[in-house]
């Protein structure tokens, strides 16, 4: 199935619209009433931490717990990153070594 150029443009346009709705909506709704709304202030304080938790799970959502070869690389690499970041607290070091370890595991050990 091939789409025509104008059909591709329409798909790009609706995807842009949908994405921008999700990004601009809070600013359109809450723009005028912040400061008075303690509930939104509370959510603004708490949500970032919860959202990072959601993102971690989102990134690992396709890990298949039925086979060890599909769990172990993620499990080992994430544990390693948690440990080394807890000890050294060097962002680039943790990300660099963690990613290198993961690539090594999926390319050479759990092929």
């Amino acid at each position: 199935m091939t789409l025509s150029s104008s059909q591709i443009l329409i798909i790009i346009a609706v995807m842009t619209l949908a994405t921008m709705i999700t990004r601009f909506l809070p600013f359109i709704i809450f723009n005028k009433q912040t400061g008075n709304n303690s509930y939104i202030d509370y959510l603004g304080d708490m949500l970032p931490y919860a959202a990072i938790g959601l993102l971690v799970v989102y990134c690992l959502r396709n890990v298949n717990f039925k086979s060890p070869a599909n769990v172990l690389p993620e499990l080992i690499a994430v544990s390693f990153i948690v440990l080394i970041h807890y000890l050294k607290e060097n962002t680039l070091l943790s990300i660099g070594l963690g990613t290198a370890l993961y690539m090594f595991l999926v390319q050479f050990i759990f092929v």
């Binding site: 789409l3 949908a18 807890y86 993961y102």
Partner: protein
């Protein structure tokens, strides 16, 4: 002008993990689009306008199946619904960004959000320009990666398997950094456990929106408790005072 260069210099190191991740994920996206027969122009347009990695990967299926813009619209809305949380989190931070604000909001992808939330502008650096350059650099990396992927699709041969893990690593690192502060642990744990619970129940394809609802409900419940505890404490203090 000097103020902007200072902000750019301060912002750049924070974007390095995203540079790696976006260049390679962007290349992968560009290659994937080319392999489906789409010219580089379409890939770049997608990256410049939609600018949302997971939705763009999903978007390849909208472009290769029968024409259905309503389905594409609703699916994109669902996959990107998590951005609503980022917006609510940034209401206060973007308040004084003035003319930079629309671009800051436009560029709130997962990675930009997590860095802007975690990184603080150093002393003497304008925080709005600092946030602007983090957003702009990430945006450029993504477009650049996409263009490279489209151009190099036939040349690239080294084994990049597993490189996309760099973004997972970035989020894990930010999570651990937040965990060190005790008062952040409650919302962090709510986010993590709600998401895991919903992932198990709803599966990887449709857990995001149930997870968002669960997070909101849990935060609401916890807040009630916190305010109640505060009230009792106040009462106790009042009693002592008397």
């Amino acid at each position: 002008m000097n103020e902007k260069i200072k902000a750019l210099k301060a912002a750049f190191p924070h974007t390095l993990p995203v540079f790696t991740g976006f260049i390679f994920l962007g290349i992968a996206y560009g290659i994937l689009m080319s392999s489906q027969g789409f010219s580089i122009i379409w890939s770049i347009l997608m990256s410049l306008f939609v600018y949302a990695g997971s939705a763009q990967y999903l978007g390849i299926t909208f472009l290769t199946s029968s024409f259905n813009p309503i389905y594409a619209f609703l699916m994109t809305l669902m996959v990107n619904a998590r951005h609503i949380f980022y917006g609510i989190s940034m209401l206060d931070k973007f308040k004084e960004a003035g003319k930079l604000k629309p671009f800051l909001i436009f560029g709130q992808c997962d990675e930009t959000f997590s860095i802007i939330h975690a990184a603080k502008a150093p002393e003497g650096v304008d925080k709005n320009w600092f946030m602007f350059f983090i957003t702009l650099l990430n945006y450029i990396y993504w477009a650049l990666g996409t263009a490279l992927g489209g151009l190099l699709s036939s040349v690239i041969s080294f084994n990049t398997k597993g490189l996309d893990f760099v973004l997972t690593a970035l989020f894990v690192v930010i999570f651990v950094g937040q965990w060190k502060k005790v008062e952040n642990r409650k919302p962090a744990l709510i986010g993590l456990l709600s998401s895991i619970g919903c992932l198990i129940i709803f599966g990887p394809g449709s857990f995001i929106i149930p997870a968002m609802v669960t997070i909101l409900v849990c935060l609401m419940l916890v807040r009630k408790k916190v305010t109640e505890v505060k009230k009792t404490k106040d009462l106790i203090i009042d009693d002592r005072g008397m």
